[in-house]
Symmetry: C3
Subunit: 109 residues, 3 copies
């Protein structure tokens, strides 16, 4: 069994969850915040069999979109970069950031 | 050291926490949401010694109850199953879903 | 790749995040609650290369302070210890509780 932690944009969370439900993948959602942009995002915790990993990654890739975000000058984020970015700065926010962790035991009580 | 992630019903979280406190198990609680029913639940993050795993599972099993839930027809959940379930549907929600993960290092700073 | 889960005091979260941003460590923050004191804290989820672990621990140690907390008598917490602590009780709350977990795959989609 593997534990997948997938950090996705809030905008994609609903669509991803529906795709997971359709395919019978069970998931738990944690409300999270991106450390850099300080915007809410969603961390999915998904326990799956090892041989389901590739299918799951396919679903995540399909449902989670890369998007550009503009950071305004003089915003708190721009200021943490010590004014190097005093002009509007564009960042690419990935569709999903995924950790796959091995599980010793997976138990339903 | 093992890291235990236990997803439990909100109704059982308080009782579980009190039992953990009494037995000297330290825990951190994350607010979470079940992917299917979209109801709030609680994810406990518990770091323990390997030889404490069985005791911990005993406590979780005792304090976390399986319960039945009825999904109403025409609810958002029923609709994600594409109207196959247009009558009220019953699901069994487990007492707890538990992941036990091995830890490289556990450090208190 | 390692996944670091670091539970820190809310008071230290902002300072830690700024230090992580400066050093180019990416992080995701989960709102959490301490099981014993039942106060909000912050769980940082940080994916890093194995050879960055020591640097990261240095940053966490520097930015996260140990502090004393007083638990009032007759508080819900004191009562869970069955009135043994009917006088004000002091607890030392660590700067950070850190789990380092090995990662099978780390993927940005
Ligand atoms: N110091 C810096 N300087 C310039 N640009 C920076 C930066 N730190 C982050 N960014 C950019 O900002 C985007 C949003 O980061 P954020 O931390 O809010 O939100 C992140 C964070 O919540 C999570 N994440 C990414 N890598 C992570 C890691 N190694 N560990 C934990 N969480 C991670 O995934 C979200 C999307 O990350 P992604 O890399 O696709 O997209 C990032 C990246 O393009
Ligand atoms: N492999 C896994 N990875 C990550 N988290 C997991 C997991 N398995 C269970 N969980 C977590 O535990 C909660 C209870 O799951 P359980 O399987 O006991 O109880 C489930 C199950 O009986 C049922 N169910 C879930 N998905 C279903 C589906 N596609 N079709 C029919 N019934 C479903 O609805 C109940 C509530 O599910 P919900 O998602 O709201 O809430 C789930 C979810 O938060
Ligand atoms: N093994 C573990 N697994 C998961 N999370 C862990 C953990 N060890 C610590 N944590 C997390 O780190 C926070 C600080 O723990 P610390 O041990 O420094 O500081 C603790 C400790 O000094 C004290 N404490 C905890 N449980 C106690 C007990 N049963 N009796 C007396 N004092 C206790 O109260 C402070 C605050 O504890 P709280 O639970 O509110 O908050 C904890 C909890 O959220």
């Amino acid at each position: 069994i593997k534990m997948v932690l997938a950090i996705v944009n809030d905008h994609d969370a609903q669509g991803l969850q529906e795709a997971l439900n359709k395919k019978g993948f069970q998931a738990t959602r944690l409300a999270s915040t991106g450390g850099f942009l300080r915007e809410g995002n969603t961390t999915f915790l998904i326990g799956i069999q090892e041989d389901q990993v590739d299918d799951l990654l396919e679903i995540i890739k399909e449902k989670c979109q890369t998007r550009k975000k503009i950071i305004a000058p003089m915003s708190p984020v721009a200021n943490t970069l010590e004014n190097y970015y005093s002009f509007p700065m564009e960042v690419q926010v990935g569709g999903a950031t995924v950790f796959i962790v091995d599980v010793d035991q997976f138990i339903k009580l």
